[in-house]
């Protein structure tokens, strides 16, 4: 069968199960009821603090085939996944299903745990580094499930992804299991992506290197859901935790694109009092935010809220009064962490509150505009941020599809050529985000508007922006680079790409041998 973006998806994928094909961004109805998580009980005098992770494994007990979940606020500084899997391996556990909101280069030991059979399933929203390559080359027998940030929260709340044990990397924790991300040597700020796991997992273990007196405040993950607290020497490396791309790009082409993106926003009619905005933490996105801030100052506009991966740049905009609130699921630098800890207008929210399409309203629905990147985009405006042009998994939606679906105007910023490769193709290799949710492509060679948004194209033209037909931009790219040969990957399915509503939008096939 075909998903609504024209991708062939099988009726059943071995290791995943029966497939519901993507039918449109808002076409698939929600299930009737949420999954009911475990009732729990603790008696007066119970001590939650355990001596080691191994003891937690014995107490729960962690059995072969269980699903263990993790969150990625530590990004490339995460120590917890590797610690837990090392314990699992030493205790001889097999066939574990690992559900982690994102995977980074630091998680390379996962590959060996897959090879040795400790891990046999993987469920994530974004992968960078060697694990993506290994998966693409077929190291895992079952396909990796690639979700969106909102889709992961949805899957947990719906009980489609059932977590046996959630390991919460806890920058600061008290003995009764209250957790915050704003203190401690591995402070990371918001713990939004860990919240659904803590709420729904059968067992919850807070892993910390900073145990403080009861009661900790303010609480991000509450004692009411946390069963055990394990103190270890070190849960993460602060250098990796706040390493995100948090400086404005210096690349002149990137700046040119950012300036154009800001001009698109200025001309869109959306940039008025109460404007809301999401951007990634990439250098070009930050530059666009910076140009936009100047326009807002010039026009005397203040926005309602900014969201996304929070950096010092957005904090600075909050402090200057350009936005009234920051809504925060994840922080990228220490200024953002500090702001979350001290500024009451800087709000910490869960992944579900941010982006779950199946609740009574997530934040992305309130976005006026979002600026996102693309590895490839096609003439139907479908975007690939999952695989490289060599077929190797090197990303994933994260919040890409969620924000695109919610925002009134979704802007993709990208160089028309990446290396020699045109970013604009007839068909992207993997559809991550459907074209119906993408409105504008901004490149250094001009701006293309989704034909579904003719009124927007008209506004941009009237403002003097270099609006070009998407086919014309593609032809220009091919004139510069030559027409690329389209590689064909027809190996077995090594990954499935779930849209935020749980339908399958595309699959990833094995690349090379």
């Amino acid at each position: 069968m075909k998903s609504a973006v024209g991708r062939e998806v099988p009726a059943t994928v071995v290791g995943y199960g029966p497939v519901t094909a993507y039918a449109g961004a808002f076409q698939t109805p929600q299930p009737e009821r949420r999954y009911a998580p475990m009732m729990k009980q603790a008696r007066p005098g119970d001590d939650k603090v355990l001596g080691s992770l191994a003891e937690a494994f014995r107490r729960i007990p962690v059995k072969d085939g269980m699903t263990l979940s993790f969150h990625h606020h530590f990004r490339n500084g995460d120590g917890v996944l590797n610690l837990v899997l090392a314990v699992a391996a030493s205790l001889g556990r097999k066939n574990l299903n690992i559900m982690i909101s994102s995977i980074f280069p630091v998680h390379a030991p996962l590959i060996d745990h897959i090879k040795s059979g400790v891990v046999s399933g993987l469920d994530t929203n974004y992968i960078s580094g060697p694990v993506g390559r290994a998966l693409s080359l077929g190291v895992l027998a079952n396909p990796v499930i690639m979700r969106t940030h909102g889709g992961r929260a949805r899957a947990i709340e719906a009980g489609q992804a059932r977590v046996d044990v959630a390991f919460i990397a806890a920058p600061a924790c008290d003995r009764y299991g209250n957790v915050t991300g704003t203190m401690g040597p591995a402070a990371c700020g918001s713990l939004g992506y860990a919240m659904p796991d803590a709420e729904y997992a059968d067992h919850v273990v807070a892993v910390t290197d900073y145990l403080i007196d009861y009661p900790l405040a303010p609480v991000s993950i509450p004692q009411t859901r946390v069963d055990y607290v394990v103190k270890v020497e070190k849960i993460g490396d602060p250098k990796g935790i706040v390493s995100g791309t948090t400086t404005i790009t210096k690349d002149p082409v990137g700046l040119k694109i950012a300036q154009s993106a800001a001009n698109v926003i200025a001309a869109s009619g959306l940039l008025k009092e109460g404007f809301s905005f999401q951007t990634g933490a990439g250098g070009a996105s930050l530059a666009a935010a910076d140009y936009m801030a100047r326009i807002m100052e010039k026009r005397g506009i203040s926005g309602s809220f900014a969201m996304g991966g929070i950096t010092g740049y957005l904090v600075n905009m909050l402090d200057r009064g350009l936005f009234k609130r920051i809504i925060d699921v994840q922080d990228f630098d220490l200024e953002a962490v500090k702001s979350l800890a001290t500024n009451p207008n800087h709000l910490e929210v869960s992944a579900g509150y941010y982006a779950n399409p199946f609740n009574a309203g997530c934040v992305v629905n309130m976005l006026d505009t979002v600026i996102l990147g693309a590895t490839e985009i096609d003439t139907d405006f479908n975007v690939n941020v999952t695989t490289g042009s060599d077929g190797i998994i090197m990303g994933g939606s994260g919040g890409h599809s969620d924000a695109a679906a919610g925002a009134k105007m979704t802007i993709i910023v990208a160089n028309l050529l990446r290396g020699r490769l045109p970013i604009l193709l007839d068909k992207v290799l993997t559809v991550t985000t459907p074209g119906e949710t993408v409105d504008v492509l901004v490149t250094e060679h001009g701006v293309a508007v989704n034909p579904r948004r003719n009124e927007l194209a008209l506004r941009l033209r009237e403002a003097g922006l270099p609006v070009r037909d998407v086919q014309e931009l593609k032809a220009l790219a091919e004139k510069m680079a030559g027409v690329p040969r389209t590689p064909v990957f027809d190996g077995r399915i090594v990954g499935v790409v779930e849209y935020r509503d749980g339908t399958l939008i595309d699959v990833v096939r094995q690349a090379g041998g």
């Binding site: 002149p252 250094e444 003097g464």
Partner: protein, 291 residues
């Protein structure tokens, strides 16, 4: 292509990534640089690269200019490689005298292909001697269409310290603009070298404009938009210029002699300035980008 030169953007001649993107910044001209931006042992490779870039890369609305080396340091070889690729002009560095121009013009004549549009010359004045000879440099050959000022070498040569405020080059800027005006060629101001100082660049371009310069060299793509913004005539100036020409047209139709606008006589200099304002205005995109 070389009628309006508000900005001329230097691009290193041995850097493919920068060469192929040079046209996206909207500079009135790009200067593919074979001189200072290229290490001595890479000059040969850069010549091939600039030549192929001239053949294949679309520089969009930017005129194509090549900065060659001085003739005694490889400039002649530069010309042999690039002239047949039809640059609009060559920027000749460290011009000291009219004879330097004649030598370049002579080579151009022998190297141009039949039917090729003549390659123009922009003389980069960056020595006290060159400045003293500026008028004869500008008038010695019809290919010379502009004088450009390079203040870094010049300041070193006169023994002054180069500052952002530029008091040390104020008289040189004056001499250069006067020489160019007397010769009837364009004058292009020296680049502002601190690429991170936006306010400094703005002040520097404003000063150049006040002195009579219509164009400026740019050493970073980020400088282009700001240079245009300051060099562009304002909406008020454009309206004024349109009214001047309308009044003149009407007077011509009616066969009237002296005409005036807002109580001021429109004489030849006023007409000239109005025409120049409108020429510049043609290059501002409709609506314009914000900022």
């Amino acid at each position: 292509m070389l009628e309006v030169l508000r900005s001329m953007l230097f691009v290193p001649g041995n850097n493919p990534a920068m060469l192929q993107n040079a046209g996206v910044f909207g500079a009135d001209a790009v200067i593919l640089d074979l001189e200072d931006a290229v290490a001595p042992r890479e000059k040969d490779a850069a010549r091939f690269l600039v030549a192929e870039a001239l053949r294949q890369v679309d520089f969009k609305t930017s005129a194509r200019v090549v900065r060659i080396n001085t003739l005694d340091t490889g400039g002649a070889e530069d010309l042999r490689r690039v002239v047949s690729c039809a640059p609009a002009a060559v920027l000749v560095p460290k011009v000291q005298s009219a004879s330097d121009i004649l030598a370049v013009a002579g080579l151009l004549e022998t190297l141009e292909q039949p039917g090729q549009a003549p390659v123009q010359i922009i003389a980069l004045i960056e020595t006290p001697r060159g400045l003293a000879e500026a008028y004869s440099i500008a008038t010695v050959h019809p290919r010379v269409i502009a004088l450009a000022f390079g203040a870094e070498d010049y300041t070193a040569a006169i023994g002054a310290k180069r500052t952002k405020e530029g008091l040390e080059i104020i008289s040189a800027r004056g001499v250069l603009i006067n020489s160019a005006a007397a010769a009837g060629v364009a004058a292009i101001d020296t680049p502002f070298t601190d690429i991170n100082d936006e306010a400094g660049l703005r002040a520097d371009v404003a000063l150049a404009r006040q002195l009579g310069y219509k164009g400026k060299l740019a050493i970073h793509p980020r400088q282009v938009d700001l240079i245009h913004e300051v060099m562009n005539p304002s909406v008020e100036e454009i309206r004024w210029a349109q009214r001047v020409l309308a009044v003149l047209r009407q007077a011509e139709q009616e066969g009237a002699g002296a005409v005036s606008l807002d109580g001021k006589m429109i004489d030849a200099p006023i007409e000239l300035r109005a025409r120049h304002v409108l020429k510049l205005a043609e290059n501002i995109p409709a609506g314009g980008a914000e900022q």
